[in-house]
Symmetry: D2
Subunit: 263 residues, 4 copies
């Protein structure tokens, strides 16, 4: 049976995931802030540790991304509904085996293919409505990449707004934040179909992009608000101190991650 | 860490799946027909066999379902966007270990929680736009459950219509088809994050509903058309002969399936 | 040029509105309550008066409706995405020319054809996400039409939840409320394309359904919450006192309204 | 009562349209081709004439646009779901009172505010799913503004694909087409609520953008396919000869149009 993922067949044509590699080009709006380290701890499995006290253990990156992603043969270029998706995600850091890692604890995307790509990579992807403004070069309809440029971003799921943020640009910057800069440490698991609270399979994996191409980065003054939902825990990571806001275009390729350990 | 599925946390609140059991009430519009048995064969892994020649090996059930599904505590009743979803799915039958099984080869749903529930159960769920008319008891705005009642159903994904069907009721019936009546035989698997074409985990599972409660069934004259898409193989199961169309309300509970065999 | 509405052509095929009459069958969940009469007054044009003091001038009906609507030739039956829509709307009453009228002050629907139908009838329709639970007759997936039956309804627009309500049924009732029971009094107007704050056309119209067919009505205990949005004024109609909650199926036909007066 | 459009109130806060002016910044992908002039004629009211034989009377521009649009106070910048929309529209030309005009005969947008803005301007806007790829400056996830850059665009409504197009860039160009370059000549009308086939109001209006700011234009080789729908007439404008494909960013302001003549 052919196909990277389901549904598989003799040809693999209907697999929800096309073959690797996947090439990405997108814009990232990042807000970094400090939350309660105890709240971060409550989102980490026992086998992981918080970052050390001198490693900013409550640091959070809330990132909105507006992506185009395509296969080697560019098949998605001519059917842009399969090319584009947006996502909003929350990254913290953790320690495992003496090393510091980035880890995505919450993430929402707006297409099914992006959701299942994320599941392959250990991202806990749900669907949401992800919105972010784009820089313009003509007219007054949107923000410009210039001092004072006003960018907005929102996230909603199940008809409730979960987060909204703004970044007002100050100037160019060295980078676009530090929380999401390490290799990702993710769990992949499959609960038993018996639904008895145990997993039939679990493992730790890591991944990072290759062939990374970066635009100039911009930094600015950021604001972010988080809202309650009966099926989310986002507000446990409420900001205590804003660290910064950033805008950057990123190109990257995912050609496969690495299995670290079976659990 | 608590939570039937991701994202897990100390409380389990944000898990995309609530705890079992899940109770379902819905309406099913079923079209049964015969396709090319060779096409069914090309959708089955090697370890499964086609149904025998005297078991209608090319039989297909194309089912539209309009569901409400809730937890024991009825938490979804007051937030109906988390209560309701629609799905369209294609069921064939197969042989494994001397037994005849039902098996879902293609399926589309319109909510993320339903998608991930299906992945837990081995359904190859994608997202789609699933539409079906509902019976009415007052007015002329929709079909009635009576001879001549005209029901329609459509399926689309990625802005392409994939299937459309009609059933014109003739009268009450003994049941609502035979293809989907057996325990399901599904594969669950997780491709290695290395993306090297191998799975890190695979198994065979089975499941069926419990506490099934059925309305009167209706049968009728059915028509169905399937359409091409570059990312689907539905038209390989084009109908050669229509067997029948059915409408029925179904109540059922999923309290966990059964692991059959690791692969 | 043929076609009830735009775009018109030699055939009228592409008109967003099919020819009259339009037949409706749907379920209505109604919450009636008293708001500040002053807030109702601020939603009425000068030429209309509040209901008299002994006519409950602050009375509001907040109604969720899950419709199927079709043309005489039932063309929409076989393409249910064109058959079904949901709406949530807010009705108050007012006086004009010595008569008491119902009037819709806010309304959201989830399909464009329903939006433009409403504009023809003077309803100020916007798009929204409208959700309401449906009664079931088998299974435990949804509420039943019986004492204790728990119905929920929500409304969102632009990724913000605007309203949520529940009705817990107590028993059968004489009717499903009084606020929306009168002929509608609506303004239709078209602002000048110059955008100078004046209308090029305005008139008062009235309409009501014909061939009304009603199911048994149910009443119950109701709760409703309204939420803020920068582009809505719904919370000005916050409930001061709940009057009741109702569920009923309604069939009706719209075969045209009546022009009352040019303004 | 305040508010440019419905619903009006004492404050105007909930009007679906914010006050003028509206500032637009967006990307346009244009495909120009020749269709049957008789088909264009069947989309024009009697009082308009086809362009003359030497004015390319069957010329059509099919334009996809990815917009951000904001008010003077930039209120939409911080809530990008109210800032962004996409549209696909079909422009022909016509003669009236000795002058040649552009005229939009079909148009689909993906937000309600954009739909009602269009109705104010005489555009026959429906809702649709409008998709188009965006140029990238880093990575391989999308097309670049360079020779060989491959852009795709699609349109769907009511779960049917209506159009798909590609443009492969060749180089920079003088402009981005000629069909849509004239002032628009649009009808605005309101059918009588009696639904008797007559209009209670009709007029001719014109509009064009002000403060236009243009990026460099690109031209390329274009392909376009149109598909049938029971509620559309797009395929009557099937291409007989492709004239060209173009990409350009456009900034413009709408500060009001001009009433030409009551009908």
């Amino acid at each position: 049976m052919e196909g990277l993922s389901f549904p598989r067949s003799a040809t693999g044509t209907s697999s929800i995931l096309p073959p690797l590699p996947w090439h990405y080009s997108g814009d990232l709006l990042t807000i970094e802030y400090r939350a309660d380290p105890g709240a971060v701890r409550r989102l980490l499995p026992d086998e992981l540790d918080l970052a050390n006290d001198d490693e900013d253990p409550g640091a959070v990156a809330f990132i909105w991304a507006d992506w185009q992603a395509s296969s080697d043969d560019r098949r998605e270029f001519v059917d842009p509904i399969r090319l584009q998706y947006k996502e909003a995600f929350v990254v913290v850091r953790c320690r495992w085996r003496g090393q510091l890692w980035s880890r995505c604890v919450f993430i929402w995307v707006d297409k099914d293919f992006a959701m299942v790509r994320g599941h392959l990579q250990g991202y806990p992807k749900k669907l949401g409505s992800v919105q972010m403004s784009r820089p313009v070069s003509v007219g007054k309809g949107g923000p410009r990449l210039e001092p004072g440029g006003l960018f907005g971003a929102t996230l909603a799921a199940y008809d409730r707004r979960l987060a909204q943020a703004t970044v007002t640009l100050r100037g160019v910057a060295e980078g676009n934040g530090f929380v999401n800069s390490l290799p990702m440490l993710h769990h992949r698991f499959l609960p038993r179909i018996e639904g008895d609270g145990t997993d039939t399979f679990a493992e730790l994996v890591t991944m990072r992009g290759s062939d990374v191409e970066l635009s100039e980065a911009w930094c600015g003054d950021a604001e972010i608000e988080l809202f309650d939902s009966p099926v989310e825990e986002l507000t446990t990571l409420a900001p205590r101190e804003i660290l910064g806001g950033y805008w950057r275009s990123v190109g990257t390729t995912f050609a496969g991650g690495e299995t670290l350990e079976a659990l």
